[in-house]
């Protein structure tokens, strides 16, 4: 494109020549915690406060969790189900399944993300959790509780990040078209792979869960929000238009996930008081394998991308999606499978606790190593020729 190819035509706010503005590279300094906003930047603090608030409610206002626990249907806690849908639906409604049409564009990146997310990540998560919680920390954690923590870690490892990866990709200047495709494909696979992986890994951990309970958690917290998200997205875009959907509906829905997450944590910890008060060190112990796994999975995917000479704007999101977990789903599945007061539910919450600080470290590492990867193909092909 040459400058004479471009003619500015005002559409109401006065003339503007895009070429007159020297295109500014996104400020590298912006790729930091600031971009996450107040909630994301201090997520660890909010989670810690929810733990304290939940434990306090459980200890001093036990009538609250006892009353909420009565509202169940088919062994599913209705308040918990509502809060979890509040967390998960806003993520599912953002998934653009039509982007799968671009599946053939970045085959190396997709191969890396699919192999790492579905053939490596769940198994290394199990391995690290077992090694640390049931072997190395065995003198510090009672065996039954350690097994429950491993179960929570398995649930965390069985599903890749769905929403936050867009922000991680944005912060590393990732290819947005590729990020859309990898999220849509991973979510489709999750629909079918989550239950078999969880059943298999819980089975070899000697943790028996009924198949129908696992399937119930998949239907409740993957299938229903996914179908509801897909149908409501299509209906709202058709009836109200894309502009209204994204700038009014999604904008309003943005904080709902966070509110749902924090309320779920308060409720969960109102049942967890005894576990936390009796074993305060356990939160730190559970965090160890989760952090090791995050770095390990990132290293595998990022190193593989480097070895395959994948461009950086694909390598970074391909590595970050696996490193980050779909912890809302893990929390939901842990509650359905093991209960609100289980060690498994506690382990999934520790995943939330460490998520943002660890991922921000990886974002900074990815930005610092951009120069070691081939540049984006578009960068070379799209030099102005005028």
């Amino acid at each position: 494109m040459t400058s004479k190819d471009v003619q500015e035509r005002s559409t109401g706010r006065g003339p503007h020549n895009p070429l007159a503005d020297a295109p500014r590279a996104p400020d590298e300094q912006k790729a930091s915690a600031r971009e996450l906003g107040l909630f994301g930047r201090y997520l660890t603090l909010w989670v810690a406060l929810c733990i304290v608030a939940g434990v306090a409610i459980g200890q001093f206002l036990p009538a609250v969790p006892e009353t909420l626990a009565r509202f169940t249907y088919a062994q599913v806690s209705i308040p918990v189900a509502i809060l979890i849908w509040l967390m998960i639906y806003p993520m599912m409604v953002q998934i653009d399944f039509a982007s799968i049409i671009g599946v053939r564009r970045q085959p190396k990146g997709l191969t890396i993300t699919l192999v790492v997310n579905w053939l490596i990540k769940p198994f290394t998560m199990f391995l690290f959790a077992w090694l640390f919680l049931q072997v190395l920390f065995a003198p510090l954690i009672e065996a039954g509780l350690a097994r429950e923590y491993v179960a929570g870690a398995i649930l965390l490892g069985a599903a890749p990040c769905t929403a936050m990866v867009f922000v991680w990709s944005y912060l590393t200047r990732g290819d947005p078209a590729y990020t859309l495709v990898q999220v849509a494909i991973n979510d489709l696979i999750m629909l079918f792979a989550f239950a078999p992986i969880v059943i298999f890994l819980l089975g070899i951990s000697d943790i028996a869960v009924p198949y129908d309970t696992v399937l119930l958690s998949v239907v409740l917290y993957i299938v229903i929000p996914l179908v509801a998200g897909y149908l409501s997205r299509a209906w709202l875009i058709r009836t109200r238009g894309m502009d209204w959907f994204e700038n009014v509906f999604l904008k309003a829905l943005g904080p709902v996930t966070m509110i749902g997450l924090l309320l779920t944590l308060v409720l969960l910890f109102s049942f967890q008081g005894e576990v936390i008060l009796n074993n305060p060190l356990h939160i730190l112990l559970i965090a160890v394998p989760l952090i090791v796994q995050t770095f390990f999975i990132f290293a595998i995917a990022y190193g593989w991308a480097k070895a395959w000479k994948v461009q950086h704007d694909v390598a970074a999101p391909a590595a970050l999606i696996g490193a980050s977990n779909f912890f809302e789903l893990a929390v939901a599945a842990a509650i359905v499978l093991f209960g609100l007061n289980s060690g498994a539910a506690l382990a999934t919450v520790v995943g939330v606790l460490v998520e943002v600080p660890v991922m921000l470290m990886l974002v900074r590492f990815a930005n610092a190593t951009r120069g070691r990867f081939p540049p984006a193909a578009g960068t070379l092909a799209a030099q102005p020729n005028g």
């Binding site: 494109m1 190819d5 471009v6 003619q7 500015e8 035509r9 559409t11 109401g12 706010r13 503007h16 895009p18 070429l19 295109p23 500014r24 590279a25 996104p26 996450l36 906003g37 909630f39 994301g40 997520l43 806003p90 953002q94 039509a98 982007s99 799968i100 049409i101 671009g102 599946v103 053939r104 564009r105 929403a163 936050m164 867009f166 922000v167 991680w168 990709s169 944005y170 200047r173 990732g174 290819d175 947005p176 078209a177 859309l180 894309m242 502009d243 994204e246 999604l250 904008k251 829905l253 996930t257 966070m258 997450l261 943002v356 984006a376 193909a377 578009g378 960068t379 799209a382 102005p384």
Partner: protein
Amino acid sequence: MIRIQPDAREHIQRNGGTVTLRGSRRHGCCGGTAFVPVAEPGRPNELEDYRSIEVDGITVFLQRDVETGSEPLVIGLDELWRLKRLRVEGTAIWM
């Protein structure tokens, strides 16, 4: 700067000769919002939120408040069987 690849240009021309390029909102579950650049054939409903430019005979409605990166935004075409969809390559849009 915006560039349109030949197959995308042909697709846009078959669909009216105009294309809308905007940032699609994505909320992270832990906070933060990302804008994914997307291109769709046709004109936007809210014209006052866009400026239009001519690129190789195609009218591109580009969302205002868009900062392109140091590299151009490239509109390409993805095809899978008979399905076609425009994609945007290039640095993410900062709003």
